[in-house]
């Protein structure tokens, strides 16, 4: 018995709306986090453009002036403001389903802003930040295709990029003895930056639990793309496990942006699943 909400994602517009809501909310949180540390984008901050611009390729003077204006401290704050407005607009328009053309325009504009900030913020990015750019690109392409009456290839792209992220993370872990032995988890949760004392106290004296969780992570990450081949209950279970994994990482490691970004790829995965099974 296939739940109707799952088959509903076979309709591209339902998948696009769900993706827009999740991506929009996640990007609003991420943007506000950057705004909260805006002093770091000043001339004596770790994201100082006068220093980072030296790592960019030489361009014609007019282009360089434009780049310095947009990526200077004031320009960057304006860019964050635009990003916040677009993110919230995408979330609201996606939730209400109103003005799909406007939602499409917001998706295209957000993709442009995220690509620009990809250049402005070359370091300190998480995997979720990188993937979010591709989710926005996928949504933007869906909007362009929709306007031309073309099929929503952007949704397939979003699902493929999510699969690539999961498989890469899983395969690169499984070749590392520290992950295979379960030791890696104890290292990570013992950090001030990514760990939590209570998690270390829980896992450090329990090597079997660590081993199990490490292997569960590796196998699940590698096998996630195969979920689209499973029947409905199996597919839903894999997505639920994936979501629980990201929530656990947010609680233990403080990686909140992964929850929003990876969840934003799930409607596209459901769209692909529905195409294969209906």
């Amino acid at each position: 018995m296939t739940p109707s909400w799952l088959t509903g994602f076979g309709d591209a517009s339902a998948a696009v709306r769900a993706t827009a809501v999740l991506l929009g909310l996640g990007q609003a949180v991420t943007t506000l986090e950057y705004v909260a540390v805006r002093d770091a984008f000043g001339d004596r901050g770790i994201y100082a453009w006068p220093a980072l611009r030296l790592g960019r390729p030489a361009r014609p003077p007019a282009w360089t002036r434009l780049r310095d204006t947009v990526f200077g401290r004031s320009g960057t704050l304006v860019l964050f403001g635009v990003r916040l407005v677009l993110s919230l607009a995408l979330a609201v328009l996606g939730a209400t389903g109103a003005w799909p053309a406007l939602a499409g325009a917001a998706a295209v504009a957000l993709a442009v802003v995220l690509v620009a900030e990809n250049v402005r913020i070359p370091w300190g990015r998480e995997g979720a930040d990188d993937l979010a750019v591709h989710v926005a690109l996928g949504l933007a392409v869906v909007a362009l295709c929709d306007a031309a009456g073309a099929p929503p290839v952007g949704l397939v792209y979003i699902a493929a990029m999510a699969a690539l992220a999961y498989v890469t993370a899983g395969v690169t872990k499984v070749v590392e003895p520290l992950w295979r032995s379960g030791e890696a988890l104890a290292w990570v949760v013992n950090l001030q930056s990514f760990g939590a004392p209570w998690a270390y106290d829980l896992l450090e004296p329990r090597p079997r639990l660590r081993w199990f969780l490490c292997w569960l992570t590796m196998v699940a990450e590698m096998a996630t793309p195969l979920a689209v081949l499973l029947p409905a209950p199996g597919f839903v279970a894999v997505l639920a496990l994936g979501f629980a994994f990201h929530v656990a990482n947010a609680v233990v490691m403080g990686l909140n942006s992964f929850v929003w970004t990876f969840a934003a790829t799930y409607p596209s995965a459901a769209f692909v699943w529905a195409q294969l099974h209906t």
């Binding site: 770790i46 370091w123 073309a150 993370a169 590392e176 990570v188 950090l191 270390y200």
Partner: protein
């Protein structure tokens, strides 16, 4: 029209996906050589292959006008996990770049084996120097920064210095600015 747009978009996204798959196989040196201009091609080695095993701390040693070292101060502000971090965690946006900056400095230092002083014009070096000199101690005339690796809460393992900068004179040094 619909067929053309669909085909163009499909080919463009397929090319981007194939390029993304290809870059997953690159090692650090390949990545350094093949940076994509827009930064769209990234690796998704999340906490792998080797897990993050240490916290990176930035320490600054101020020196007064007679060359006496002042107390070392820590610039990085990593703090223990709080429940609210699950939803709202802006502070990591401050310390996440330290690891990337440190790795970039290490790569530059290795590449510039015969001319290590040239690392001082690397973007990472200049950005970190800006942070280190932003709020000098009272009476400081010069400063030096260090990246230190600390292995969690394991008391058996001492912190390790990963990178030590040159000593830099401060603008208006000696009058406490």
């Amino acid at each position: 029209m619909a067929t053309v747009v669909g085909a163009v978009c499909g080919v463009a996204l397929a090319a981007l996906f194939v390029a993304s798959v290809r870059i997953q196989f690159f090692d650090a040196a390949d990545l350094h050589r093949h940076r994509s201009p827009l930064g769209l091609l990234r690796q998704y080695r999340l906490f792998s292959p080797a897990p993050v095993r240490a916290d990176i701390h930035l320490l600054v040693r101020d020196i007064d006008h007679v060359g006496r070292a002042l107390p070392v101060r820590e610039v990085t502000s990593i703090r223990l996990r709080r429940p609210v971090d699950t939803l709202w965690n802006p502070r990591r946006r401050r310390w996440l770049p330290w690891r990337a900056a440190m790795l970039e400095l290490a790569a530059f230092t290795t590449d510039l084996a015969d001319d290590r002083a040239a690392v001082q014009v690397a973007p990472a070096y200049l950005a970190v120097l800006g942070v280190a000199t932003a709020e000098p101690a009272e009476g400081a005339a010069a400063c030096q920064f260090l990246f230190v690796e600390r292995f969690g809460t394991d008391p058996a393992r001492s912190p390790v210095v990963l990178f030590c900068s040159a000593v830099h004179r401060l603008e208006g040094g000696g009058d406490g600015r």
